[in-house]
Symmetry: C2
Subunit: 325 residues, 2 copies
Amino acid sequence: MDHGSVYMGIDLGASSIKMGIVNRNGSLLESRRVPLREHEFHKVLNRFDQLALEILNTHDLSWEQVAGAGVGSPGFIDFQKGIVKDAGNLGWHHVPLKQELYRRWGIPIELDNDANAAALGESWIGAGQGVSDFLCLTIGTGIGSGIIIGGDIYHGAGGMAGEIGHIPVQPESGIRCNCGKTGCLETEASGTAIARIAVDRARRSSGGLLKQLYERDGNIKAGKVIELALQGDDACREIVGDTGKTLGRALSQICYILNPERIVIGGGISHAGDILFNPLKKAFRRTALPQLVETTAIVPARLGNRAGMIGAAYLVHRKKERNLC
Amino acid sequence: MDHGSVYMGIDLGASSIKMGIVNRNGSLLESRRVPLREHEFHKVLNRFDQLALEILNTHDLSWEQVAGAGVGSPGFIDFQKGIVKDAGNLGWHHVPLKQELYRRWGIPIELDNDANAAALGESWIGAGQGVSDFLCLTIGTGIGSGIIIGGDIYHGAGGMAGEIGHIPVQPESGIRCNCGKTGCLETEASGTAIARIAVDRARRSSGGLLKQLYERDGNIKAGKVIELALQGDDACREIVGDTGKTLGRALSQICYILNPERIVIGGGISHAGDILFNPLKKAFRRTALPQLVETTAIVPARLGNRAGMIGAAYLVHRKKERNLC
């Protein structure tokens, strides 16, 4: 393998680290996913070290052959300074991630928000390839999005562009969000919302699969609701369908502002497929102007849970291509 | 005056044409505003001809000395083809404005949406000068906005970006909009909304200035409500304040998506000043995340009703500067 011909792509989450080696064409040559239990900054960095060495050894690579590393991190990021300003679910505040990784690895490091990294991955070799302006929505535990304008991430003034998880959708009657407000898109239409609604239903209903599941396990995970919905359970189909409706209405609001060419939807919840996408598209068509419906296509993401790693690698790749690092 | 040293800037509205000569520094050297009653396409073009000649004669200019003309038009515009696709209040559908003006005047012609032209004017020499990413809101009879990203208009896939007048703010209980939906920002917080609410109040109240006005004239104009609010009338201050609240909440939604560095607010209704801006900013602060409130400044427009003409001139100026026409 040529000197400096691959990148390390890191997708940092509250409960896991995904790390992989990506080549100049965006192919993921090797990747690992490990659970993350301790969030203390230097312990996380030690995990990074360990994982990186494992991956390099598997491919008989040395650090000299890695052209750089990109990290997609949850929370509010100062991508220019390479600082995680505020990541509630990691308990991180003003953490100099770029600087510390550079000190350890001595290669160019780039940092951005995890949803932005996923958008960039889909832009490079996924569902946004060749599309100048699109929105990439990631629906998992929470809801994140990355906005690509002119082929690059649009960050906005404070790096907060695309924080659509906090668009108010039920400000009067919704659930309290960890942002301090009530009825955000994230509290009403994320994986967490699906799990909460499923538990509510199970408690109130007199029978059915959800109730059995809840009585057995004491809780219900969003992934299970989607699994049951795909198997044809009516209650679960309804929960996923309602989530789609809420998302479709929110997306129409976003389109009045951005009118993107495409909306790419990924994240665990998107695996529900048509059960989610059909009511979502229907609600979108009903609430958006016809001109928006005509010009904005809604499509599933293509890279699955590899988008974050591939996009993180692209953070460095695009700088290399422009000779900026 | 040098050959080709000035531009003609045209701000076309449903009830008036504003046309002016703008130099390379963005200064408006001369302008005229004439009422527009007949909307038939060729009659409007004849009015353009007549007005342009008047302005040129006043400055002893010939067409040879005009480097180009820009037009800001209401409605949905195909700026690349120079076509007004759909302008309901002019009754225009697929009107080839650029082509026809070029046939008449023989100089480079550029066309865009009126709100985009106003945003570009504020970007050139107004409240958005030197700001890379901002939103320019124009609140008059309706609500339009132009989005500037990287110093240029962001159009979106179908040229519909910034159509924020149709963001749903009261989809259940609001007024029917001419877009076919209910409770759009435009039906709830524009000049038209202010006038409608004022008439409602006048009808229901037992006394006060609004009632006197309504009984005398049979209607109430938004400009009059603002005038009375500025003179201290409580009912009018409340109407303008409620409009500000609705706008502030909508702007916070927009900021979750765009996080612009600045929001510039112009149009007739913005002349209410603090009576509008204070409740607007308060509602914005209450509904947006602190990080957005910190990074997005809300400021009044600077160019008043000249923004459209100056921005329309800039449509040609920027192309000339880049040697594109």
